[in-house]
Subunit: 212 residues, 2 copies
Amino acid sequence: MTTTTIPEVVVLRLPLYVRVLAALEGRGQGVVSSQELGTLLHATPAQIRKDLSYFGRFGKQGRGYQVSNLLKELRHIMGIDREWSVVLVGVGQLGSAILTYGGFAPQGFNILAAFDADPSKHGAAIGNVLVQDIAQIKSEAQRLGVHIGIVAVPVSHCQRVVDLLVDCGIRAILNYAPYQPTTPPGVWVRDIDPVVALQSMTYHLKTAEDQW
Amino acid sequence: MTTTTIPEVVVLRLPLYVRVLAALEGRGQGVVSSQELGTLLHATPAQIRKDLSYFGRFGKQGRGYQVSNLLKELRHIMGIDREWSVVLVGVGQLGSAILTYGGFAPQGFNILAAFDADPSKHGAAIGNVLVQDIAQIKSEAQRLGVHIGIVAVPVSHCQRVVDLLVDCGIRAILNYAPYQPTTPPGVWVRDIDPVVALQSMTYHLKTAEDQW
């Protein structure tokens, strides 16, 4: 384990390593080469070796990586072998869908509370979570020991809500608004933006059309 | 314009170039250096120059890039200076949120039809889109000239729905199910997976905790 700075692009790739390794483990594969990992992750073997070298010496020269061991180590390094407490802000249609989405809890992300500014929503229970007044967020976040905030509010409210989460001591924010909020150093934001994903496919559609 | 193969990592970065350039144009900036673009995109100036060199000669040595010109060219290269026809499959809570989300149409992505297997949903109008029987998708997709499919069904249905979209001639799929469907060559899939985004932040949270 090391405290040197890991390039953010490497950090962003780690979940994909875990996903691929979990699939390999699931089908009983014991060892994987950097070549095979490269194919699965659309990277060169040299890139794979370089990525993993940031975290220690996993592979033996010419022998590949032990799948289960590498997976377990990466999970630990990434902090995903434990539980994290999450709050949601914004209980519109998107927020409701997030609260009822079954994919977070099995991965250790527990949404413990939800907040909205609209009084008509307060007291509602959605997916086992109680919707509370946004005015309560600071005391609740501190009482619950919250690590992560999910923002599902309109663009016009995004920055204000992010500021509020930061003020609550939250340092990791998953942002569904198509807006890049500014945050102080030491706070991480990831954007879920379907338009960006669509725009990275139209290049291929257009290129294919141009070639016909 | 070129038909050489552009590395997929570069294609994935293009929407971020567009977003950053649009913000620069919005505040009236005429010229941008590879240094400044690198700072905004968390990449080295050399990486920026290499990325853009795939698409032609945009910058003049030592003079930087013309913001408006580069933005316009990239939009054209990416095929986002035009309209694309989209269908959605799966009109649960997530699908409904997608249909009422206001961010697609202004970027040229027009959701023209939605499909679900549940008869109780057929005929409903959500966000100006009519929900139709999934059995109609092939004829409707061909009638509407659809380019892109959005998948918002449970994991257990994901592969079957993706196969159906491919069978409709659709070659770009935005997948919200936390499952990697297999597709034939020439079909592109992008996953919207909030768990992957969360997992790329816990590394930082954990590292910060470890250092205290």
